[in-house]
């Protein structure tokens, strides 16, 4: 059943974090730099055992700043690379996520979200870093973020994350959570030949006259297309230079507004121009829906039950799951908003992605959140009652406010 190169083809009962590690290995990841943090540590642990089995390198760095940079370094050596963390480490990675974006470096970063801010609830679930995923590093950029709902999807989307990352030369985020990361379910690992694996367009020694090579380029070239430039690796003889400073096609620093416009528009447009290829949503029963539940990750999964209950009550409920949270599917929401009565957005946070739904709904549809601050998944009754409210039905349940809590000892 297993595969000679160290791949675990077959069916396995795997923890979500482990599934992410196996997805990475199948996607060709051969470098992992990490730092212990609950609830993402199991990804590192799995990688520390598995990577040496497939000829890869696991290194535990001194902190998350270093992990993120080691991943960028490994990627510039031509090796697919990943790191994994949770909230506090995610914040520490923000500075150098920006470097990865500026150097257009393929790599994958998994955030197994827990309750925040600060140290918060290390072992318990949250979906509170969704806006940070989009806006957490200084400066302007676009990012890709994927939201799995199960260990199987953590496996599948980790492969997709590497593929998108390699294709668009951009760090890709997997925004999972403590619930999915620590859950164990069946994961089917297909034979490698059945999986599409994308490798970055890579210029190798001798491919191009070194003087003619440009590490950043706008427009179609023999190796890249659109806004995405072909890449090369250290040691291939191109004597490249790259910098976190605003730069030109050769990667040389150019300190003016014109160069900045060129840089930033390219970084932004290479994602925006390929929205249709990148954005992935799962829709169900949208045709005749009066209310659409828009959600992602564990909250999308748990909303399926209240949706079922609401349908039994005769409410026509549709389901739109954001597999990619970023880029946000503006157009899909805009179109739906014109024909539905309301959106319900369940999230384990105080209302993050709901702001995007509000923005895109343009006032055409009511937008209601089903929120809790974190520490546990949403209760079905809670979501059901917001659906009822959205449909104009009577609400039969009091939403939690936390106001009653005064002290742990009371």
């Amino acid at each position: 059943m297993s595969e000679p190169r160290g791949l675990l083809t077959g069916e396995h009962f795997l923890m979500g974090d482990y599934a992410a590690a196996e997805g990475a290995i199948l996607a060709g990841c051969r470098f992992f730099a990490g730092y212990p943090i609950t609830p993402a540590t199991e990804i590192a642990e799995r990688m520390s055992v598995r990577l040496p089995q497939v000829g890869g390198i696991y290194i535990q760095m001194e902190d998350e700043l270093a992990s993120m940079n080691a991943v960028l370094g490994a990627s510039w050596a031509g090796v697919k690379a990943m790191t994994a963390t949770s909230g506090p480490g995610f914040s520490l990675m923000m500075e150098n996520l920006g470097l990865g974006i500026m150097l257009e470096t393929p790599c994958v970063l998994v955030n197994v979200q827990r309750g925040g801010p600060s140290t918060g609830l290390p072992t318990l679930v949250g979906q509170q870093d969704m806006m940070q995923a989009r806006w957490g590093s200084h400066g302007d950029y676009e990012i890709i973020a994927l939201c799995p709902i199960s260990p199987q999807e953590l496996f599948d989307l980790t492969i997709r994350a590497f593929n998108l990352s390699e294709k668009y030369r951009v760090p890709v985020l997997i925004m999972t959570d403590a619930e999915v990361g620590h859950m164990t379910e069946k994961v089917v690992i297909p034979p490698p030949e059945e999986i599409e694996i994308v490798h970055r367009p890579q210029v190798r020694r001798g491919d191009v006259e070194p003087d003619h090579f440009r590490i950043f380029r706008n427009g179609r070239t023999a190796f890249g297309n659109g806004y995405i430039s072909p890449m090369t690796a250290a040691g291939e003889g191109y004597r490249i230079h790259v910098t976190g400073l605003t730069h030109d096609e050769r990667g040389y620093p150019v300190m003016n507004a014109r160069a900045h416009e060129w840089n930033i528009r390219r970084l932004v447009n290479k994602i925006r121009a390929h929205r249709d290829e990148i954005i992935q949503v799962e829709g169900k029963d949208l045709e005749d829906a009066e209310v659409v539940v828009v959600s992602y990750g564990i909250s999308a999964r748990t909303s399926l039950w209240p949706i079922e209950l609401a349908r039994r009550e005769g409410i026509r409920v549709g389901y739109l799951r954001l597999i990619t949270a970023w880029p946000f599917p503006d157009e899909q929401i805009r179109q739906l908003a014109k024909r539905v009565r309301a959106f319900v957005v369940p999230e384990i946070n105080m209302g993050q992605m709901i702001r995007e739904v509000e923005r895109c709904a343009c006032g055409h549809a009511l937008v209601l959140g089903a929120n809790r601050a974190g520490g546990d998944i949403l209760e079905p009754e809670h979501v059901l009652n917001v659906i009822r409210q959205a449909a104009g039905r009577e609400v039969q349940w009091e939403r939690p406010t936390g106001a009653a809590f005064e002290s742990a000892e009371e």
């Binding site: 992990s67 080691a70 748990t302």
Partner: protein
């Protein structure tokens, strides 16, 4: 007082090292065009800055290695951080990476580990390497990965205009310490050595030739090598401090030259001095009165990558064992019956194998019975050895809600778990207890069916009390009937250490038979059988 040259390694001769003639110092060599990005020149450095010399000695060392040691310079990568020195990456015609402030070393670590063929050199300034990047510096030295770190120390943050830095002498002036520096500086060679660096040296840019020779050595050192290069900051640092103060403030070149003369006066070469004694001494005004220079440490020890490579064989062995186990897994005929959502709670304390038992149920259902199964653990603030809980949801349909709503069966192995979980069991549900460990309360629930067996005692009799959970798994399998016996047995087989397999299967079977017996007998401890 250690003698000069006392610590020289044998590689010195191999590297073309000749004893330096102190009278023959030069401040810079010719630019070497093929290793400079001509299109980027002129550089941004001020007149009188020491960085030109640092750059040319580095290039000289590389050219020497190319010519005399056959180095392929396509395989040399330079990584730098932010600051004046950091700009070197933009001038050398090598693969070069200008990263973020302080982060050159971890970037270099990734580059080198991912492609050990590369020779990776970090060139950066004192603020970058020892200030914001200090943690990466000490950890890289500790790991002894074969990279070379060259830190050009000009005693301040030059690019931002001359703020105090981690190497600014005590009582020296900087734009943020105009009343005098109240902090003490690092001695970088000492810090590098204490962190684990196996090659440590220092030169001022006055000793360009010795610096180049030392760089040749550092670049070929099999481990982490560190070279501190003391260089004048003619614009910022020299402006505030005795070495350059009072000079024509516009004559930057002149100021730089004065600082070089100062180096000539205060420099003292002492090869082999322990780095702790390789001081940069200052007087009460913060004026440098002595700079110990030389190669202080050259003590090869196995580099990180060599240590990593040693693991390959063990990893291969583990993989083959794993593969063999996977390949030997049987397949079972498909189930055709439909299983409704079934929730199982397991509870006990750490070490009883509660988590493991939950996982075994889930794996049996998911892998061998073709069902959906979702297994989760309870985490709490408890320390290890405290309470342990496991939950399994099993169903023929997709499991949307992964948590238990109301469990229908339960395996309980401790008093605490009994108190915590039993109230949540569905009316009519099945409670299985280790009757040797758990006593029922007087007001025990009458609306559930309770069975017990002294699992720990049975396991002890079999020779290992850790198999108690397996006894209860067998008991549960027979009692609840959701997962097939052969699926459970195989899941147990997959999960226990091979040498305890027979014992565990026996334990499972005893539990199973006891389950069948009690169920058939219909005599629960409490409730309607």
């Amino acid at each position: 007082m250690p003698e000069e040259e006392m610590h020289r390694s044998e590689r010195l001769k191999h590297l073309g090292y000749e004893p330096p003639d102190e009278s023959d110092w030069v401040t810079g060599l010719h630019p070497m065009d093929e290793l400079l990005r001509g299109e980027r020149l002129p550089h941004i450095w001020c007149q009188g800055c020491g960085l030109g010399t640092a750059l040319t000695t580095f290039i000289g060392a590389l050219q020497w290695l190319e010519k005399n040691r056959g180095w392929d310079l396509d395989k040399v990568a330079v990584v730098s951080g932010i600051g004046c020195t950091g700009r070197i990456a933009g001038y050398v015609r090598l693969d070069s990476f200008h990263t973020t402030h302080g982060r050159a070393i971890p970037f270099a670590t990734g580059l080198k580990l991912a492609n050990p063929e590369l020779k990776v050199v970090v060139l950066s300034g004192d603020g970058d390497i020892a200030g914001i990047g200090g943690n990466h510096f000490i950890h890289a030295a500790r790991r002894n990965l074969e990279i070379t770190v060259v830190c050009v120390n000009n005693f301040n943050y030059g690019m931002t205009g001359g703020q105090v830095g981690p190497t600014t002498p005590h009582e020296a002036r900087a734009v943020t310490t105009q009343y005098g520096n109240f902090e003490y500086p690092f001695n970088l060679p000492y810090l590098a050595a204490a962190s684990g660096a196996s090659f440590v040296a220092r030169w001022t840019v006055l000793h360009a030739r010795q610096l180049e020779w030392t760089l040749r050595e550092a670049l070929t050192h099999p481990g982490f090598s560190f070279v501190e290069v003391i260089a004048p900051c003619s614009t910022a640092y020299a402006r505030w401090n005795p070495e350059g103060r009072g000079l024509d403030p516009e004559g930057l070149g002149r100021r730089g030259l004065e600082v070089m003369k100062h180096y000539q006066r205060v420099g003292r070469t002492m090869h082999g001095t322990h780095p702790k004694d390789a001081e940069i001494r200052v007087n009460e005004k913060g004026e440098i009165v002595e700079i110990i220079e030389g190669k202080f440490l050259d003590d090869p020890k196995p580099d990180l990558k060599a240590a990593i490579d040693r693991q390959a064989a063990l990893a291969e062995k583990w993989w083959l064992a794993e593969k063999k186990a996977l390949d030997s897994r049987p397949r079972f005929p498909k189930r055709t019956d439909r299983v409704p959502r079934t929730e199982v709670q397991l509870g006990g304390f750490g070490g009883q194998g509660i988590i493991s038992a939950g996982r075994i149920i889930g794996q049996a259902a998911a892998i061998y019975d073709g069902l959906e199964a979702c297994f989760t653990q309870s985490y709490g603030p408890e320390a290890r050895g405290g309470a342990a809980g496991a939950q399994v949801v099993i169903s023929s349909d997709p499991i949307h809600h992964p948590h238990l709503i109301q469990p229908t069966s339960m395996i309980i192995m401790s008093k605490e778990a009994y108190s915590k979980y039993v109230p949540t069991l569905a009316p009519g549900g099945t409670l299985l207890i280790d009757s040797g460990l758990v006593k029922l309360r007087e007001d025990h629930r009458q609306d559930i069916v309770t069975y017990g067996l002294p699992a720990t005692q049975i396991a002890e009799e079999l020779g290992n009390n850790r198999a108690a959970n397996t006894v209860l798994l067998g008991f549960w399998t027979a009692m609840v009937g959701v997962v097939r016996r052969e699926a459970m047995r195989q899941s147990v087989t997959d999960s226990v250490p091979p040498k305890t397999l027979d014992l565990n299967l026996k334990a499972f079977d005893i539990g199973y038979e006891e389950g069948l017996r009690q169920r058939a007998g219909g005599h629960p401890l409490v409730g309607e059988g």
